[in-house]
């Protein structure tokens, strides 16, 4: 029964596809229906080659506009915007951790402040949110898992870092291997491309660049399904999975950059704020009286140290304090020791 149903469906689909091609020779970019060259083992002469070229040229500007460079203290990578408010998909080894401050560079060179959300350390998936308000160019994700082995795909990325004169670099190839958590293509990747997008010829996002092998054909991408699977956790800035693509910060690895003393009238008095420390950047000043850290009342200097020991770099900290007798609240992320 099952096999019959399958066969029937196949016949129907083949007919429908033929009809569509006959009616619309350039239906390649239509929302539904696969790009017809993908269903051939290899392009069959100039007409097919031109169809590939035409599809690519048509969808490239939009894909390019959404492709960004991500600058982080350790270097640079790439990413792609997937929503108008600036949600970015990238690789875990580019984001390196949760709640980290990064800079996003758009195609035209505009630099924007952003923060890493969640990472999936064992598949190399990660999210970043642009924190400056705006309406950003974005691409659609292929949620239907319509990609098949041999499909023509293209890669974008800021190879070797941002270069305005050059722009992001586009490469064409085919999907040459598919496994559960990895796509492999023959679009050649290099350092700086990590986290950049892999598209199908309809311009839908199907993967994020992860790593390369020695051979030119060994270029690995994280499939969209790995992002979709962990979407909620990624949005909530969770650290998911264990290595190898990102290392969970250890307890006690975070720091505030403050020296305090116990204040007689309650709380802790800030004696010194470290230069360029998270506290300084958040606006904490000498003389402030710290009252609470994440809702725990602070009474002794040692108490603050004990609390920090249980936290890690990148963790969010809410500080309630008194400045000139007036209560104020500051939120900051612990720095890395």
């Amino acid at each position: 029964m099952i096999s019959l149903a399958c066969r029937l469906a196949t016949v129907m689909r083949t007919r429908l596809t033929c009809l569509l091609i006959a009616l619309l020779p350039w239906s390649a970019n239509a929302q539904d229906g696969r790009f017809y060259v993908n269903d051939k083992k290899a392009p069959d002469g100039r007409k097919d080659l031109e169809a590939i070229q035409k599809s690519l040229i048509t969808v490239l500007p939009k894909a390019r506009a959404a492709t960004v460079c991500i600058e982080i203290s350790e270097g640079s990578g790439s990413g792609v915007i997937v929503s108008a408010d600036g949600l970015i998909l990238t690789a875990a080894h580019v984001a390196t951790g949760v709640r980290k401050k990064v800079t996003v560079i758009l195609e035209d060179g505009t630099k924007l402040k952003a923060e890493t959300l969640g990472v999936v350390a064992d598949t190399d998936a990660a999210m970043i949110q642009i924190t400056e308000k705006g309406s950003y160019p974005f691409v659609e994700i292929d949620r239907a898992e319509s990609t098949r082995l041999g499909d023509w795909v293209f890669a974008l990325g800021h190879s070797g870092g941002f270069d305005k004169e050059r722009g992001s670099v586009v490469r064409l190839g085919r999907l040459v291997r598919m496994a559960n958590s990895t796509f492999q293509s023959d679009c050649t990747l290099i350092g700086g491309d990590s986290g950049g997008p892999l598209f199908d010829l309809r311009g839908k996002l199907i993967g994020i660049h992860s790593r390369v092998g020695q051979q030119l054909q060994s270029n690995m991408h994280v499939p969209m399904r790995e992002f979709i699977k962990s979407w909620d956790g990624l949005m909530k800035a969770e650290f998911i999975g264990e290595g190898p693509f990102a290392k969970k910060p250890e307890k006690g690895s975070g720091f505030l950059g403050l020296a305090t003393e116990t204040h007689k009238e309650g709380g802790l008095r800030v004696m010194k704020v470290g230069s360029k420390s998270p506290s300084e950047q958040a606006g904490i000043k000498e003389g402030d009286i710290l009252l609470k850290l994440n809702d725990t009342v602070l009474a002794k200097r040692e108490q603050l140290q004990d609390l920090l020991k249980e936290m890690a770099a990148g963790d969010e900290v809410k500080l309630e304090l008194l400045r000139g007798g007036k209560p104020q609240t500051f939120t900051l992320n612990l720095g890395e020791r």
Partner: protein, 326 residues
């Protein structure tokens, strides 16, 4: 319908460089067969060239052939054992060669290099003795200048033993060598500005481009002279095996072999053809089989540079004219 799970790896013949895919480009391959030249050192392929005239003028990448003793050239199925290097354009790293041939089919130039990114381009892949192979890719970035890594230089080393700016060594491939500077000459000024220290020299040329001319005054045997010196890209003087810091960076390590000279080009177009270092120098074709450029450097595993057709035509015409005047 369930996706077919059994076949999870694409057979190599269907990959972008595979025979089944390349077969779709047979008409363009025919152009490479007749109008690209294979550069040979004995029996070893070392690069390719662009056939630009029926009577045997060929352009190729200069830095890959200059040190070759037994250079010969194959076009189509004929090997030409005596290839003469007539001229070298150091700025573009292009050499003009002459082989004793007639009735060759020169490339047909494309109208413009300004085709959209994502357009197909083709180049030479590995060859057999009788057949050219083709590799295909796409235009992958904007046309632009690739500034010389390390900047521009005179091409001299100064003596550290004396307090004056005495030349200790003149690099053979430099503008200083062309201007006739020698060991023992003392550099006095550049563009009328008096110089005292090595830093002064650096200051005098730091904003100047490779290829530009400076007026250099020097003293030799108590006599002062002024000569024009062409500033040379550091990349031309020293091979670029190592990055500017003297070490291969991570991207270089993962690239495999790249061109000795891969920077200091006034204008390049970039493509993604998966070739090796040995495929430079040949024509870059568009889908019509027209020559849209000349492959000039494999910069990394993901980046190849070609001289755009407008510049290539100008270089070809200029070098042919110069060669005729010699």
């Amino acid at each position: 319908m369930l996706p077919v799970m059994a076949q999870q790896s694409l057979d190599s013949s269907f990959r972008t460089t595979g025979t089944a895919v390349v077969a779709a480009f047979e008409t363009q391959r025919q152009v490479l067969q007749t109008s690209s030249a294979v550069m040979l050192d004995g029996r070893k392929e070392i690069g390719y060239g662009v056939v630009i005239s029926a009577d045997g003028y060929v352009l190729t990448k200069a830095s890959e052939i200059t040190e070759v003793k037994n250079l010969s050239v194959t076009v189509d199925q004929t090997n030409y054992p005596t290839a003469r290097v007539l001229l070298i354009d150091a700025t573009w790293d292009v050499a003009l060669l002459k082989i004793e041939a007639s009735g060759l089919i020169p490339v047909v130039y494309a109208e413009t290099s300004a085709i959209p990114q994502g357009s197909w381009v083709m180049a030479n892949g590995a060859t057999t003795r009788t057949n050219r192979r083709l590799l295909a890719g796409i235009v992958s970035a904007k046309i632009r200048e690739i500034t010389a890594s390390g900047g521009a230089a005179l091409g001299v080393t100064l003596s550290t033993k004396v307090k004056t700016l005495e030349i200790d060594e003149v690099s053979e491939k430099s503008g200083a060598h062309e201007a006739g500077l020698q060991k023992g000459d003392v550099v006095l000024s550049i563009d009328g500005k008096k110089l005292k220290t090595i830093e002064d020299i650096g200051e005098a040329i730091k904003d100047r481009k490779e290829g530009s001319i400076v007026k250099l005054t020097y003293r030799r045997n108590k006599e002062e002279k002024t000569v024009d010196v062409r500033l040379t890209a550091r990349a031309e003087i020293f091979t670029e095996k190592m990055g500017p810091g003297g070490q291969m960076n991570r991207n270089d390590q993962m690239s495999g072999e790249f061109s000795n000279r891969r920077s200091g080009f006034p204008r390049v177009m970039q493509h993604d053809i998966l070739g090796s270092r040995q495929v430079e120098g040949g024509p870059l074709l568009d889908i019509d089989g027209h020559c849209i450029g000349m492959n000039i450097a494999r910069a990394s595993r993901a980046e190849n540079y070609a001289i755009p057709v407008e510049d290539l035509k100008e270089i070809a015409e200029r070098m042919m004219k110069q060669a005729a005047g010699k």
